[in-house]
Structure formats: C-alpha cells, structure tokens
C-alpha cells in the first residue's frame, strides 16, 4: 500500500496551505477520533469563480495530499464545475490511493461540496 510519487509530492510540498484572507465559504469535515479533519477556505467572486482556496488538515499523508490536490484542481474554476470534483476524481489525479485510504482520508472533496452548497444556500443560488 505504498503512496504514488504524486501523492508524496503533494504531501511533501502541499499547495494552498493555511488560511486565505477574507474567505466567504468555509467547511470542515471529519473528526479527530477517526484521525482526519479537513477544513477548506474559499473566496468565491460574484460570477461564481473560486478566486482563491486553501486548506488546513489534520491527518495522514493521503489526507494532506488529497487536500492539496483538491485545492489545486478547483482554483480558478466556476463552482458548478468544481462540484464535478469527487473523491474518485481526486484519487485518479493522484495516480491512485491505497484502498484503505479511499474513504477516511479522501475527504477534501466532501469539504469542497459542503462549502459550495452552503455558499449557494446563503446566496440563494440554485
């Protein structure tokens, strides 16, 4: 169950870490008991474009790498396009994940969906 080179690259050099200024959509998923918590910060402009995005993650190598990859994949995209990013898409983009990591440590796309849905609800964008 070794990690791919791409997973290790994102783990060792995570993109978009920390907190961005003035996020207008934030979502957290996971819990410390299962060992993974992922928090995403998004700034979405009035046209629905994700101008900026960042993450904070408590978790294993896969959790950090999937968080990093998710932010990289959706930065600059429209939120409806971003919703097409699922855990399978993230895993595929990383060249695969060990089977045991597919669910518990691949939660960043869930956080993304949660943040976008909450943003849409807030601004009545359906």
């Amino acid at each position: 169950m070794n990690y791919t080179e791409k997973v290790m690259d994102h783990f060792l050099h995570p993109r978009n870490v920390g907190k961005i200024d003035n996020p207008n959509a934030v979502a957290e998923v996971g819990n410390a008991q299962c060992g993974d918590i992922i928090k995403l910060f998004l700034r979405i402009n009035p046209e629905g474009i994700i101008e900026d995005i960042s993450f904070e993650t408590f978790g294993c190598g896969a959790a950090i790498a999937t968080s990093s990859m998710t932010t990289e994949m959706v930065k600059g995209k429209h939120i409806d396009e971003a919703l097409l990013v699922t855990r399978d898409v993230v895993a595929e983009e990383l060249g695969g994940l060990p089977a045991s990591k597919m669910h518990c440590s691949n939660l960043a796309s869930e956080a993304l969906h949660k943040a976008i849905h909450e943003y849409k609800a807030k601004y009545n964008l359906h």
Binding site: M8, G35, D36, E56, T57, F58, C60
Partner: protein
C-alpha cells in the same frame, strides 16, 4: 543509500555481523539435515543443539525445555491453542486471563478461542499502561486455567510484574505463559525467577534472523501440537529445522545477554537524551507509558495536534525510521488498542510516535532526529485545523 537512522528496533533489528559469520558455513558448506545419521547431518545436529543450549542458558532454562519454531506468533498460538486443544471435551478450566495490551498474536488468538466457547478476561491498564494486580486476583475463578501476559509491551515499553503474576498464578494452580518477545536482550529474563510454565522468544528482536523463534515449555507441562508430522523437536514441532535461523539465534542471544548490562546503560542514556530534548524543545508533547517501569530502548511520545503517519512519512524522507500507533498507518484503520487502552483517547494514539533505539544508535542520530522533529512538527502544526483552533481559543 545515504545514512539512515533506524529507530524502529522494536519492530525488528538488523542481523548483526557475528551472527552472519556464525551461520555462513551452514549456508555454503554444511548443508546436511540434522536428522541424518551421516557426517553431514551430525555436524549440523551438533550446531543446532549448541544453539539450544545457548538459548536455554540465556533464560535460565534447561536445553530440554527449549522448542524451536518459526516466530513469536507461532509460539503464542501454540500456547493458547495447544492449551485449549489439550483440554478436550467438557473442559472445566476454560477460562483464560490476559491483558488489554497484548500483541495481536495473543489478542486475536484469545478472540478466536472465545469463539470456540472459551471465556477470556482482558485485564485493563491504567493511564500509564500499568496493570493492577488486584484486578488479576479478582478475575481468578474456579475455571481459570491459564494466565498469559507479556513481559514488556511492544508499543510503550512498559515492564510488567511477571514474577508477582507468576506467584499469584501458582497459588491458584493456574498455568502461566509469558510473551517475552520484547524483553530478551533488553532486560534479564529468568524463567525460574518468573516461575512461568511457558515463555515465548523471537530471534529477530535481538539481531538474529527473521523466521525463527523458541518456546520454553517447563518440564512436565504438555501442550497439544499445532502441527502433525515428523519427530523434530521431540515430535512437538514437526518440520525440518530452520538450521541457519536456529544457529544464528543461539549466537545472537548469547551476545545479547553478555552485553546486556553495558548496552542497556548506553542506550538508556541515548533514549533519555532524545526524550528530554523533545519534551523541552517541542511544546505539547507527552510521554506515553510509564517512564519508571520501562525498557531502556523505547520512548513513545505523543505530539498533540498532528497525526502520526504524517510525522512518520516526513521523518522517513529525512532519513529516519520510526513507527506510530496511528490508525492511518495500519491497514485496518484502527488506532492502537494499546494506547487507546491507556486513557480511552484515540486522538492520543493517532498522534503517538514510537522511537525504539538499538545497538547501532548514536548520539548524533538522536540529535539529528530532535532537530528534524522540531521542523516537522512545527510544519505539520502550521496547517493543522485543531492546532489553529487551539491557538485561537487561547488567544483571549
């Protein structure tokens, strides 16, 4: 490969050079079967029996009480399953007492026996990982037939009071098994002092080869075989002997015991330096286990707000090998049952790192590891949401 720092000696140790030299002739020239009556066989038989004598001497047993096998898991299975099978139908003594912090080869075997109708009591541990002997006394019942405890815990390094447990067992005519896998070579192991009936040993924990172990069975005690087959090991463990493994084990245990006192002092000083520096120089760290009842080689430390597998991977890329109780590094995704048993806190298990030093560890290794850890922990905390939350909550 560049210089690596190996702080995972509780998982396994490298084979030491003296062992390689000892077994080399048996890999190249002396290839006989120890059961054969000809010269080629007799030479090998002599070496196997010399190794048996060395293993026996190392734990103060008689050579006739040593049975070579393939590993500690086999030894532990042989005791639990062999005990069960030996009872036969209508078994009266079908209650076994063990602890909540055993190695999986006891833990999961006990669980398998439970499915066969056995009753198992798992003694709890306190916040430091220690047993309360009153819990043991209270757990003993009319039908208790076997007590099985480890001598040294593999994850936190605690030393358990096996001599006292042995006394209690025999006051009640209960058989006593000790899993001494993590003890041999680190502290003195004496089967007569312990007063045990069975004791498990594994060679690769003290610079011998993987794939060979030994089970001490006190004279007069009988366990049913797991395997049926030939006459090897007095018919108790059929199968052609792992000749090189056994000969290497004899050499390794002889050296480990001879060097024990000096080496324990040396390694303890290194371990203490590592632990002291980490606790002083990295905030929100804590020792897991009981520093006053511990083997000299091991330190288990929890790094709050960060996850163990992340630390392990990062250290690995910096040339340092450690292990973690975090679920994320195990394939079954369960947090360590040992560390969770201490305080019921899976979060601590997720954040714990085991450093297990050995005979090749140096002070330079320790200092490099501390410096690397300082960077690693502060980096991982810099984007940990629970650290962020903690810092914000404590700002006001």
């Amino acid at each position: 490969m560049t210089h690596r720092i190996y702080f995972d000696n509780s998982a396994t140790t490298p084979v030491r050079k003296e062992v390689v030299d000892e077994i080399m002739p048996f890999l190249t020239e002396l290839g006989g079967n120890p059961s054969s009556r000809h010269y080629e066989g007799r030479v090998v038989r002599t070496a196997v029996e010399a190794a048996r004598a060395k293993v026996a001497a190392a734990i103060n047993a008689d050579p006739s009480e040593i049975y070579f096998n393939s590993c500690a898991s086999e030894g532990n299975n042989t005791v639990l399953r062999g005990y069960m099978m030996g009872l036969g139908r209508n078994a009266k003594k079908n209650h076994i007492i063990t602890t909540a912090v055993e190695h999986p080869s006891i833990f999961n075997t006990a669980a398998a026996l439970e499915k066969e109708g056995f009753e198992i009591t798992y003694l709890p541990v306190d916040g430091k990982g220690n047993l309360n002997l009153d819990d043991l006394r209270n757990a003993i019942k009319e039908n208790t037939g076997l007590i099985s405890t480890m001598f040294v815990n593999n994850e936190i390094g605690n030393i358990y009071p096996v001599e006292e447990i042995g006394k209690i067992a025999h006051e009640h005519n209960i058989l006593f098994h000790v899993d001494a896998v993590q003890a041999v070579g680190k502290i003195h192991v004496d089967v007569k002092k312990i007063g045990c009936d069975f004791l498990t040993v594994s060679a690769h924990k003290f610079y011998g080869l993987k794939g060979v172990g030994a089970l001490f069975v006190k004279r007069g005690r009988v366990l049913k075989n797991l395997l049926t087959g030939g006459h090897q090991e007095k018919g108790k463990r059929p199968g052609t002997e792992n000749v090189v493994g056994i000969i290497g084990m004899g050499k390794a245990i002889e050296l480990a015991v001879a060097e024990l006192d000096d080496e324990a002092k040396r390694v303890a000083a290194l371990r203490d330096r590592l632990e002291k520096r980490v606790l002083e120089e990295i905030p929100f760290t804590r020792v897991v286990g009981d520093p006053s009842h511990r083997v000299p080689t091991l330190s288990n430390i929890s790094f709050r707000f960060v996850e163990g597998e992340g630390i392990l991977l990062k250290l690995d890329t910096e040339g340092i090998a450690v292990s973690t109780g975090s679920a994320c590094s195990s394939s079954d995704l369960k947090a360590s049952h040992v560390i969770t048993a201490l305080n019921g806190d899976p979060e601590e298990a997720h954040s714990s790192i085991r450093f297990s030093l050995g005979k090749y560890s140096t002070v330079e290794d320790v200092d490099y590891t501390v410096e690397t850890l300082k960077n690693t922990i502060s980096l991982l905390r810099s984007f940990s949401p629970i650290y962020d939350e903690f810092v914000n909550a404590n700002k006001h």
